[in-house]
């Protein structure tokens, strides 16, 4: 495992998508979904960068069980280092065909406080947006990255807004929870539609198996939610006890590639592979 030397790479495929994984509420499974999908894409030969943009509750560090990080995303945004110094190359660890690079956010209380101190500082946020957009161009154009995936904070966090602004494919993740559905509706109408002018796609996660007894149930749920929220549903992922038991200790798709959860994530990855 070493810090990425992205400059040596050549783009092997002609695809550049920036994806944000966002939600109204916490606990929808964004980080788990982002990390597993990023890994599947990398395993399929795409060059993938996964960035932890949840500055309130960073969790990728724990999910990937990183012991020592030289530079964090916090350092990049505070301009204490360059983007390529932040990215940790995990391609060897996971033996992926494409490059698999991850940028981690510092989970210490001090770092969280430092970031949240800037949460309403528009100047700082504008500078961060510049950095994110420059970084996006750099990774796509010069370093041959195909997918950049931002795992964001839930709700109206400014850092998430920046990631959404930089994204080509904003994705919202919801649970089958009434409050979450109502909140997501307002998030789509108030922020995505009116302010950001972006149309997100939806992934419904942790759906109780009792609601998905047969293929018809999938269709019905899809059309109901699509009608309610006015956006396209690109994935329905059932709730699996095995995933819960995994407790975010490792990447599930790596250990159980044939499990239905991994299949669901795989189908989601295909959606992006097929997209423009």
């Amino acid at each position: 495992m070493s810090n990425a030397s992205v400059g040596d790479w050549n783009p092997n495929r002609n695809k550049n998508r920036a994806i944000t994984i966002h939600s109204f509420k916490g606990g929808t499974g964004k980080s788990n979904l982002s990390a597993n999908m990023a890994l599947i894409l990398a395993e399929r030969g795409w060059n993938v960068v996964l960035l932890d943009f949840d500055f309130r509750a960073p969790s990728l560090n724990a999910l990937f069980q990183m012991n020592s990080i030289k530079y964090w995303i916090n350092d990049w945004l505070a301009q204490r280092c360059e983007l390529n110094e932040v990215l940790v190359d995990l391609s060897d660890r996971y033996q992926t065909m494409g490059k698999f690079l991850v940028g981690f956010t510092n989970p210490s209380g001090k770092a969280i406080n430092e970031m949240t101190m800037h949460s309403l500082d528009e100047e700082w946020q504008a500078r961060v947006l510049q950095l994110v957009l420059d970084g996006k161009d750099l990774l796509f154009e010069q370093y041959g990255i195909n997918f950049q995936i931002f795992d964001t904070s839930p709700g109206f966090a400014m850092s998430s807004i920046n990631a959404i602004l930089a994204a080509d494919d904003p994705i919202l993740v919801i649970k089958m929870d009434h409050l979450d559905i109502v909140g997501t509706y307002h998030l789509i109408k108030g922020v995505y539609d009116q302010t950001l002018g972006k149309k997100p796609e939806l992934v419904v996660n942790k759906v109780p198996c009792s609601m998905l007894q047969n293929p018809e149930d999938y269709k019905r749920l899809k059309s109901e939610l699509s009608l309610k929220l006015g956006i396209e549903i690109i994935g329905i992922i059932p709730c699996f006890c095995e995933v819960m038991e995994n407790m975010g200790r490792h990447l599930f798709v790596k250990k159980h590639p044939d499990h239905e959860f991994s299949q669901s994530i795989s189908r989601l990855a295909e959606h992006f592979e097929k997209g423009n």
Binding site: S108, G109, K110, N113, T116, M117, S119, L120, E122, Q125, A126, L129, Q130, L133, G155, F156, A157, M158, I161, L165, G190, V191, Q194, T195, L196
Partner: protein, 828 residues
């Protein structure tokens, strides 16, 4: 002896035995034989007296109706002289006056005028002393003056009795200057009389009018007794039993009042308590006397005073069960006085009953464990105080209105504490401040110096409450400055009165103001001032015997020494150490007092601070010793109150873990990083099963310390150096920098805050205490109050910070932001 003279003798014997009804019937019987109108008149006098002997209100009313109809009939059937007829008409008018609801003062006036014309001066004077209470203020004075004139024509012995009877209703008069002048006149006249008579009435009047603060207490006790035992018995021999009861009741009220005032001026708690108890007993005796009369005004006063007596006793009672019982008795008597209030037009007394009932309910509300019910009760109390204020304002009693407004202000503060929604919280605090200022303005117009000082302290308290809820520095500062000013004025006022509690409270409030302003502005001079003021407060509280408050003042003083030592960087190291020593000594003293009072939470808090002082001094061994004590104190609370065991076991674990943590720090100091790392790791794993959030946070800290210590022990010089720097930084943070407001993210504060946030919500829902026996409930509630207050302070201390840090942007903010960065997007 003739038959007629035999009959007359029989009548006289009946009269002497106070068997007035029989005497009256005998008179009317003899009149039938003799047609002697004097005898008929004598019959009516006896009939009138018999009515006032009754203990039963309904019976009295029937008697009065009967009297009126018999007089009407007699006017037709009996032959009277002109004056005799006028007298009977006046008696009938008086009876009609009493039968009206409320009593008809106009009829009393007509009757009194008639009695005066007829030379029935004693009867007139008796009626004047009753009617004054039912008159408008201007008429009150007129009739009081009239009363004095009439009294001067009586014999010296009777003269001062009537003077005394006139003083009572006059006390209600609102025009302070006129009232004072009139009372002084009565006082001086009585004083002149006392050269001839004994000094009993003089003492009574002095006590009632407050003309002499000290002297009345000295002469009062013995001499009021003498009135009761000798003079009154002499006096009432010629009066009927009801009048006797009324006067006895009045005098017992006086006796109680004199004891009450002596108690208020007494510095030694035990004596103070004894005096309050004695006063209460007198008021209860008075109640039993007056219940047999229709003197509702006086009865209301007796009930109110008895209620107040119970409240005062409860305040000084250490036994929780007993204290609760006293509060309940207080409430019972005040409820009674409130219900009697409906019978009387004495609005001022009704005001007082409402106000004091509010006070009793407020004290009792602390026993209420459900937050919602407590809130409801407090709102009820608030309304009672407002009712009291309105009654008081109708009678233009500035003093009572001042007290009612001040109490309403304090209750608003409690409601602000209980409110969880920030807007409502602030609304109540604003209300509290407004009311406190109004009460201050009211007291400034009265001569009540004690009330004025209490109102100043209350206004200072209101400022601090509002400052806690105010986000901006400038506003906070302005409020603390006001608080300081009120505090200083309260001290100035307190020096003119003799009341140790009020004095102590004034110093404490001023100290709080100086301390908070000093911390806010980082002003060492103000902290010095706070030390000086707290020092006085400590001395003053120690004289009151209120040990809990004494310990609290000691804790504040100790804290201020710490603030001062960390704020003033210019002090020499030796001076700083001296401050730390002082602080430790005071915390230890406070801990000892709390321990004796079984307030183990506060004991633990003080030990926690001593532990931190030792950390500051880098005396790790000492720090360990005190963190160990912290654990023991919290264990004691857990043991004492089983329902709180869970919460206090968290506190206790903090103590234990800190003992180990400090051990690790001392090992680091000796350079043995790998050993320290192992210790931190062990400590962290001992917390593995803890589900408590703050303990998890502590576990993370220990894990981090352990990891850093590993790096510090590596051979890689770069890593090693970095780790050591990091360790040093963390150790600095482990010292009690809560005293340094400049370090908002300090570890200590974080842990403390987490503790508070964790604990406060649990205590805000006290149903978990419901199963406790009363004594434990009381202890738990005291702790709860303390914790909740602490939680609110902590919450507020971080409010500004969280305001700007944690708050998520609204849609508007996002919209503005997107508009602002649209050019960046457009460029792409």
């Amino acid at each position: 002896m003739t038959d007629a003279s035999m009959e007359l003798r029989r009548i006289t014997i009946l009269e002497r035995n106070a068997e007035y009804h029989d005497a009256a019937e005998q008179c009317f019987l003899v009149y039938q034989q003799t047609q002697d109108s004097d005898l008929a008149l004598r019959g009516f006098r006896n009939l009138n007296s018999s009515i006032w002997r009754s203990n039963n209100l309904a019976e009295m009313r029937t008697g009065l109706s009967d009297l009126i109809s018999r007089i009407r009939k007699a006017k037709e059937t009996m032959k009277f002289e002109k004056d005799q007829l006028a007298y009977l008409e006046a008696v009938a008018l008086e009876a009609e006056g009493w039968l009206a609801e409320p009593p008809d003062s106009e009829k009393f006036i007509q009757a009194t005028e008639c009695f005066i014309k007829l030379g029935e001066l004693e009867h007139a004077l008796n009626l004047i002393t009753s009617l004054i209470a039912y008159l408008n203020p201007d008429k009150q004075i007129h009739w009081a003056q009239h009363g004095i004139e009439i009294a001067t024509t009586l014999s010296p012995e009777k003269k001062d009795t009537y003077y005394l009877l006139l003083v009572e209703p006059l006390l209600l008069y609102e025009d302070v200057e006129t009232k004072e002048a009139l009372l002084k006149e009565i006082y001086n006249r009585t004083k002149a009389l006392s050269q001839i008579n004994n000094r009993d009435h003089l003492g009574n009047i002095a006590v009632l009018t407050g003309l002499d603060l000290i002297q009345p207490y000295r002469i009062q006790e013995v001499e009021i007794h003498s009135i009761r035992q000798d003079n009154v018995h002499e006096l009432v021999r010629s009066l009927d039993k009801t009048t006797h009861n009324r006067i006895q009741g009045m005098l017992l009220n006086l006796l109680g009042t004199s004891h009450y005032r002596m108690a208020e001026a007494e510095a030694i708690t035990d004596i103070r308590q004894e005096l309050f108890k004695k006063a209460k007993d007198y008021f209860l005796q008075s109640v039993s006397m007056l219940e047999r009369t229709s003197a509702y005004g006086e009865l209301l006063r007796a009930y109110t005073l008895a209620g107040e007596g119970f409240l005062s006793i409860a305040e000084l009672e250490h036994d929780f069960n007993q204290r609760n019982e006293y509060y309940q008795l207080g409430e019972m008597h005040l409820q009674k006085s409130r219900s009697i209030g409906g019978f009387t037009r004495l609005l001022q007394l009704r005001a007082r009953a409402a106000i004091n009932l509010g006070v009793a309910l407020e004290r009792l509300s602390w026993f209420e464990l459900s937050l919602e019910r407590r809130k409801k009760k407090l709102i009820e109390i608030y309304e009672l105080q407002i009712e009291g204020r309105d009654f008081a304002q109708q009678t233009k009693s500035l003093q009572e209105a001042g007290y009612a407004t001040m109490y309403a202000s304090e209750v608003s503060g409690f409601l602000s504490d209980l409110e969880t929604r920030s807007n409502q919280k602030r609304d109540w605090a604003i209300k509290q401040q407004k009311l406190s200022r109004t009460s201050l303005a009211l007291f400034q117009k009265t001569l009540d110096k004690k009330g004025l000082v209490a109102a100043l302290s209350s206004a200072a308290f209101a400022c601090s409450k509002l400052a806690d809820l105010t986000p901006t520095f400038e506003e906070k500062k302005a409020l603390f400055e006001d608080m300081f000013l009120y505090g200083e004025l309260a001290i100035e006022g307190a020096q003119k009165i003799i009341d140790p509690v009020i004095t102590a409270n004034a110093y404490q409030q001023a100290g709080n103001a100086a301390q908070r302003l000093g911390i806010l502005c980082g002003d060492g001079e103000l902290l010095k001032k706070a030390i000086e003021l707290y020092d006085y407060a400590v001395q003053a509280w120690s004289k009151t015997g209120e040990r809990n408050k004494h310990a609290n003042a000691l804790t504040q003083l100790a804290d201020t020494f710490l603030y001062f030592s960390s704020l003033d960087f210019t002090v020499k190291e030796t001076t700083r150490k001296h401050y730390l020593m002082q602080s430790e000594r005071l915390h230890q003293k406070a801990a000892n007092i709390y321990s004796n009072l079984f307030f183990f939470h506060d004991e633990g808090e003080n030990y926690w601070r001593i532990g931190q002082i030792h950390l500051l001094k880098e005396d790790y061994h000492g720090a360990q010793e005190y963190f160990d004590k912290v654990q023991k104190s919290f264990d004691k609370v857990a043991e004492l109150i089983p329902s709180l065991a869970e919460i206090y076991s968290v506190f206790s674990t903090f103590g234990t873990t800190f003992v180990g943590l400090v051990d690790g720090l001392s090992i680091i100091k000796r350079g043995n990083y790998s050993h320290a790392s192992k210790l931190f790791k062990e400590l962290a794993s001992s917390l593995n099963r803890e589900t408590d959030r703050s303990l998890r946070q502590l576990r993370q800290l220990l894990t981090a310390l352990s990891s850093i210590a590993i790096f510090a022990s590596t051979n890689d010089s770069k890593e090693n150096k970095k780790a050591k720097t990091e360790l040093e930084r963390m150790i600095v943070k482990l010292t009690p920098d809560a005293y340094d407001q400049q370090l908002p993210y300090s570890l200590h504060k974080t842990i403390h805050r987490l503790q508070i946030f964790l604990i406060a919500p649990k205590l805000f829902f006290p149903p978990l205490l419901l199963d406790l026996p009363l004594k434990e409930k009381m202890i738990a509630m005291t702790q709860t109050r303390h914790l909740v207050r602490m939680a609110l302070n902590m919450y507020q201390a971080t409010a500004d910070q969280r305001e700007s840090v944690v708050k998520a942007p609204t849609e508007d903010v996002i919209r503005n932001y997107v508009a602002r960065i649209s050019s960046i997007i457009a460029e792409r």
